[in-house]
């Protein structure tokens, strides 16, 4: 029953967001769109970190692959500016997945902090390519897109584009939710809890982790396509280490292993960053402080607060 209540609450919040969007200011609507795009990446990382126990620090790489693919197709071939937008979405997800399939061959053999270091290094490789391969990526300047697609509906309108991204966000959340409830998703949790036991029980744990890694890469690539069209500019800034770190912290802040928490973390980080930076110049310290406090006092993240409160009440009731 509690699961049904949570679902009702989630639907309520999402419906409220969709209904409120037309009344939000032009700046706010872009911020929400940004948060939703990064939420897709954060949720894909949660599949690895929260469910499988794999702390990837290179998730921006797949975002970057999707984004650069979109920009290159749009500027060189004019592809993806009409109904072919949908094809680019598919191609972006496939490119992200393919990159993860390659990187996974190196990364999945490692665990814990070694996994973290390898994914960080692989992510830096993508950043290096984006930064140095001038003829393809435009180097430091990046690539300017000719605009947003138009196919009956004009995505150039920020509100319309928000609804498209919102749709992809809901679909991603739904798809990932189905995956984590499936036998495959439960096997990932088993691997997180006790990998050796899983192997002895007959699971090829390498393969399960590899598949999860590829799926996460696919969602990263999808988010990259959406990000490229949103910003109209793709540059090495999008694939830099900071983006990967941000995404990791979104998951930790929101609560690993909850999916919704990753989205919540994304919203908090994006809004804190954008609003604080207009108010004070030392805003990174505030963000840093929030992270440190979360890790010290809220190991379950924001999504863990209700449980925390319940325990605290139980304890004070017993006294």
């Amino acid at each position: 029953m509690s699961g049904r209540r949570k679902l009702a609450m989630l639907i309520g919040v999402l419906a409220a967001l969709a209904a409120w969007a037309p009344f939000a200011g032009p700046f706010a609507i872009l911020l929400i769109t940004q948060a939703l795009v990064l939420a897709i990446v954060a949720m894909s990382l949660d599949l690895l970190l929260g469910y499988t126990g794999l702390p990837s620090l290179g998730q921006a790489a797949y975002l970057g692959v999707g984004a650069y693919l979109t920009a290159i197709l749009a500027t060189r071939y004019g592809f993806g500016m009409d109904w072919s937008f949908w094809l680019v979405i598919v191609l972006g997800a496939l490119a992200g997945a393919a990159t993860a399939a390659l990187f996974g061959l190196f990364a999945i053999r490692a665990t814990g902090v070694y996994f973290l270091m390898i994914t960080l290094a692989l992510g830096m490789c993508v950043w290096g390519l984006a930064y140095r391969w001038n003829s393809l990526t435009g180097g430091d300047n990046g690539i300017n897109l000719p605009g947003r697609p138009e196919f009956g509906i004009r995505l150039a309108d920020d509100l319309t584009y928000f609804y498209v991204v919102f749709g992809f966000f809901v679909a991603s959340l739904g798809a990932l939710h189905v995956i984590v409830q499936s036998p495959f998703g439960r096997s990932l949790v088993g691997i997180r809890e006790r990998e050796l036991r899983m192997r002895v029980l007959g699971y090829n744990t390498w393969l399960h982790k590899y598949i999860a890694f590829v799926i996460a890469g696919g969602f990263g690539g999808l988010a990259g396509v959406l990000l490229a069209y949103k910003n109209g500019l793709v540059s090495p800034e999008d694939v830099i280490l900071t983006t990967s770190v941000d995404v990791l912290l979104m998951v930790v802040l929101g609560g690993p292993g909850t999916l919704v928490g990753a989205a919540l973390g994304s919203a908090v980080v994006v809004f804190l960053r954008e609003y604080l930076s207009t108010l004070v110049h030392w805003w990174p310290y505030v963000l840093g402080g929030v992270y440190v406090l979360t890790i010290l006092y809220l190991p379950g993240g924001l999504m863990g607060i209700p449980e925390h409160v319940r325990r605290w009440r139980l304890r004070s009731a017993n006294h």
Binding site: I179, S182, R199, V200
Partner: protein, 257 residues
């Protein structure tokens, strides 16, 4: 030629170890261990701490690679196979140090164990809860072990004795034909280990069991054949009665050997 002698049954062994060895650098942990296990066999491996018993299990189940020798499972050479493929052939094991999924419920633990040998483990588009047959099987296993009422308890909140029992339920979940039990009675009170022995005796008589155990009451109650391991080598083996009477074994256990 109809009378099969007791020493050489006309059935094939389900598990066979041929001169199995393992060394860690200069330390020889397991040396030249040879063992044959037939369907329905109940065998024990005993020996003092550090004799190499758990290492032997790790070699048989593929957790550690062997240095030399062969492991045959149902006549197939599985020496270089990873653990999960050996499990798929029908071998299961439990662990001396409880290796459950601590933050998951009892039911989820058992569901993971049942799912290990099924193709459904790769299904992503359907919820695990919707698999009637898996849920039914988990129910049967948990009812058999007396844990159905506590299926929603997180395993980390169970007592040590209860966790030892769930450990065995997980071992049985894949319907193995060979079961390796690593000290199932470790840390149990004497009443509990008697229960454990009764439970083991009730298992399918066709199931082959190899048992590592320090509790001699459990060993003599459950098995009919014992191998004694000392410094990685089998120093004595035979029917339980013979081992019980062996002076050499007593020397090893009393520390004069």
């Amino acid at each position: 030629m109809t009378t099969a002698s007791s020493g050489a049954p006309d059935r094939a062994p389900v598990l066979e170890l041929r001169a199995l060895s393992k060394s860690f650098g200069g330390l020889v942990a397991v040396e030249n261990v040879t063992l044959q296990v037939y369907p329905g066999d109940r065998k024990a491996i005993i020996g003092p701490n550090g004799a190499g018993k758990t290492t032997l299990f790790n070699l048989v189940s593929g957790v550690l690679p062997c240095s030399a020798g062969q492991v045959l499972l149902f006549g197939r050479d599985v020496t270089r196979w990873p653990s999960h493929r050996r499990a798929a052939l029908g071998m299961a094991r439990t662990f001396q140090i409880t290796s459950l999924f601590p933050k998951l419920t009892v039911l989820d633990n058992v569901l993971l164990a049942i799912g290990g040998l099924r193709r459904t483990k790769f299904v992503m588009w359907r919820s695990l809860a919707s698999y009637r047959e898996l849920q039914e099987k988990a129910r049967r296993l948990l009812e058999g072990a007396g844990y159905w009422d506590r299926r929603d308890a997180e395993v980390r909140n169970l007592s040590h004795g209860e966790q030892r029992q769930i450990e065995i339920v997980l071992g049985l979940a894949g319907d193995p034909k060979v079961l390796l039990l690593d000290e199932p009675a470790a840390g149990l009170a004497s009443g509990e280990s008697r229960e454990m022995a009764e439970f083991l005796k009730r298992l399918d008589p066709q199931l082959a069991i190899v048992l590592i155990e320090h509790d001699m009451d459990v060993v003599f109650d459950v098995v009919d054949h014992i191998s004694v391991l000392h410094f990685g080598r089998v120093v004595e083996e035979g029917p339980a009665e013979q081992i019980r009477a062996s002076e050499k074994v007593q020397e090893i256990y009393l520390g004069t050997g």
